[in-house]
Symmetry: C2
Subunit: 180 residues, 2 copies
């Protein structure tokens, strides 16, 4: 099954890169306005050399308090988190942080469109999973449920995301199907 | 007129701090989900010491490609930029970048709620200015218009934002009035 996919150039790119390119395409074609949030950084020391740009000399990565991406499509707020795993049969929940899930709960509560984009990089399969289903599974781990989400759960409750040349992770197609 | 306002503690805080506190209050009271985007940073060198956190050793501030804040209120996408000036009678347009204005155009085009929060810090007055009016004025600067937006324009087309103890920049009140 990998044969046809590999016809596309740069197929080895990361999910994040593919999504960024897709968002760029959506923006250029005036389809949607979605951006990746910058990596949160705690800045400790900055030098201000004369006649040149300020240099950050000491900083640390901070944990993100929300998700990776948000934006606007057909008047609706959309918000999602991208996760890539080299596991072949499940996504470990340890990859996701509690406050990200809390953020997603709030987004749903306030009427936003919220989801995960999950890629199994070995198989090169990418799925759209509505946050509703993710949260349901997530909550069960605290009542003796699994700590890892089986690919079967993702296939049953999610949607395979088409890969096209211009929109490498064409998640808007799924949003159209589900909401419009 | 500053007398009553100064009864509130921490009145000397920056606009950004006031907005962050307001957003925190909105989040806690389940009113709206709005976050400041992290400062975009170009990371050049990172050290990975054994047994401790990664340290960013060289990085530079990047220009933001969008606005400072976005989020979700009553199912609607909202997006805004905060600007503070110590000028007393106008806001210099040099404070705003072309690509931020382009981003705002797109947000409006796709049905989002988009605006500026502008504070004149000497007078301690804060205004909500719909992006539509801002962009109109912005475009005129290239046809011989002014490079600085008079406070009278902001008062005529904008709305004074109430300052309350819990929501220091209660911009949702204005959104309610304009859209709901
Ligand atoms: Mg991610
Ligand atoms: Mg700003």
């Amino acid at each position: 099954t990998g044969q046809k996919k590999n016809d596309f150039a740069n197929r080895g790119m990361t999910l994040e890169n593919d999504i960024n390119e897709t968002n760029h395409f959506y923006l250029e074609t005036n389809h949607a306005v979605v951006h990746k949030k910058p990596t949160p950084v705690q800045i400790v020391q900055v030098d201000y050399p004369k006649r040149s740009a300020a240099v950050i000399k000491e900083a640390y990565f901070k944990q993100a308090s929300t998700t990776d991406y948000n934006g606007l499509y057909k008047g609706k707020y959309i918000d999602f988190e991208a996760k890539e795993t080299r596991n072949v049969s499940s996504l470990p929940l340890a990859n996701i942080h509690e406050h990200q899930v809390e953020h997603m709960r709030k987004v749903l509560q306030h009427g936003g469109i919220c989801f995960f984009i999950i890629r199994f990089s070995k198989q090169e399969d990418t799925y759209y999973l509505p946050a509703e289903f993710f949260i349901q599974f997530w909550d069960q781990q605290f009542q003796g449920g699994r700590k890892s989400m089986p690919i079967t759960f993702i296939k049953d409750h999610g949607h395979s995301i088409p890969f096209t040349f211009q929109a490498r992770v064409d998640y808007i197609k799924i949003i159209d199907k589900l909401y419009f």
